[in-house]
Amino acid sequence: MGFKHKDILGLQDLTAEEIELLLNTADNMKEISKREIKKVPTLRGKTVVNLFFEPSTRTRTSFEIAAKRLSADTLNISASTSAVQKGETLSDTARNIEAMKPDIIVMRHAISGSHHYLAKRVSYSVINAGDGQHEHPSQGLLDMMTMREKLGTLKGIKVAIVGDITHSRVARSNIYGLTKMGAKVFLSGPPTLIPPGVERLGAVTVCGRMRDAVEDADVVMMLRIQLERQGKTLLPTMREYSRYFGLSDDVMKMAKPGVLVMHPGPMNRGVEISSETADGANSVILEQVENGVAVRMSMLYHVSGGGPTE
């Protein structure tokens, strides 16, 4: 079976088989980063443009390293240093970049759906590195890769996702991906930060109390409160939030022994996660980052195939 998409805009558009192919390739590409010469010639002569309209360290660096390990040429454009500052539209920026003949563009943008808009207008492949509150497929994939690596399977595992679900593209990509792969997903957070109708994204269970979501969980994924995306105050105080929805050792005891603690970063230590938990034995946060490179190599490799055939 081959990967037939020109773009990867979200896990909503992928089948379970395609997700599995991406994860298997990522598993097998992980070894490249452990070699003395961390490079394979696969994407020689391809140009990958990282176009970031929002701040990012992890994702942008990870995509850049992934592209370089596949021997692609990479260049980074961030909104703060580009003509966007001078009022250029997304469409004009994209078409100007297209004129320079890139093969893949990796984009992060604050507006949900901007990648779909772009993908229809350009000939190169578009990879979504985060669009507003919509999707962050590479994060969803690296989370699933980490879970599968540690637990052996995604089928039937219980995953608790806790925090600001409304503003989280990480949560959406994980919900789409995990439910397709047969995991049981439980969501918890303050009612003001759980979007109404979230069940329509996939078979998820919403829990008012964090303990109900975490009970017997194989994985607890903590999300950051995205203050920069909130127009108005949706929480009384951060202290209150932390008390009810922060991950402490006490709450963690409810989960299965050996539960995996995950966080997409950046972490707000002392708010959604205590420092002891973040650095504790159950934390796989840095493994997530390591797997991120392999997952992004896999995404770049598969979109650079011939694209749709027939």
């Binding site: 081959g2 990967f3 003395e36 696969t42 490799y301 598969h302 650079s304 195939g305 011939g306």
Partner: protein, 179 residues
């Protein structure tokens, strides 16, 4: 589609060929102290393990066995309609200064071997690389030859050669398919 198949090497034939190759490897390298085997996915891996067990029987010392997947080194990567799944490369030892014996089931155009040699070089600088194949069917497109050959089989390009393995990955027979 009807395919005509002819067995060109049966189980005993395969065993004899591998035993002879094992002796040739020993003779050429004057023992196995510096020898490591690397099988090319997937048939070559099974044969590398077969070869390793024969070398151990003869010399009483275990030979390190690794595997290489050449998908990321293929020269036709730009023309693939959809990129192929990538298999695992596992070389859990250093090949620096070693005598690497690449093992594959069928040697045909030589393009796979070119890719495997490039992959080896990314893992270190071996003292030398040798090539062992069960079948050499000709039609080389690159200046590559095998050091150890189980059987030379002249073929037409339309024919196909397959090595069949049992569930325990032991080679059972080699057959030729006419399309």
């Amino acid at each position: 589609m009807n395919k005509e198949t002819t067995v060109i090497l049966d189980g005993t034939g395969v065993k004899r060929a591998l035993t002879r190759i094992a002796h040739e490897v020993l003779e050429r390298n004057k023992g196995i102290s510096e020898v490591v085997l690397v099988g090319i996915r997937t048939g070559g891996i099974h044969l590398a393990h077969e070869l390793a067990s024969r070398l151990e029987e003869i010399e009483g010392v275990a030979v390190p066995v690794g595997s290489v997947d050449i998908t990321l080194y293929r020269d036709d990567i730009k023309t693939q309609a959809a990129h192929l799944p990538v298999g695992k490369t596992e070389i859990p030892f250093s090949i620096e200064g070693k005598r690497v014996v690449l093992v594959d089931d069928v040697l045909f155009t030589g393009r796979t071997i070119r890719a495997a040699m490039d992959a080896m070089m990314d893992h270190g600088r071996p003292q030398c690389i040798q090539l062992a194949v069960l079948i050499d069917r000709g039609h080389r497109e690159l200046p590559i030859r095998a050091d150890f050959v189980g059987r030379n089989v002249p073929t037409s390009r339309k024919e196909n050669i397959q090595v069949r393995f049992d569930d325990a990955n032991h080679p059972v027979e080699v057959y030729l398919e006419k399309n």
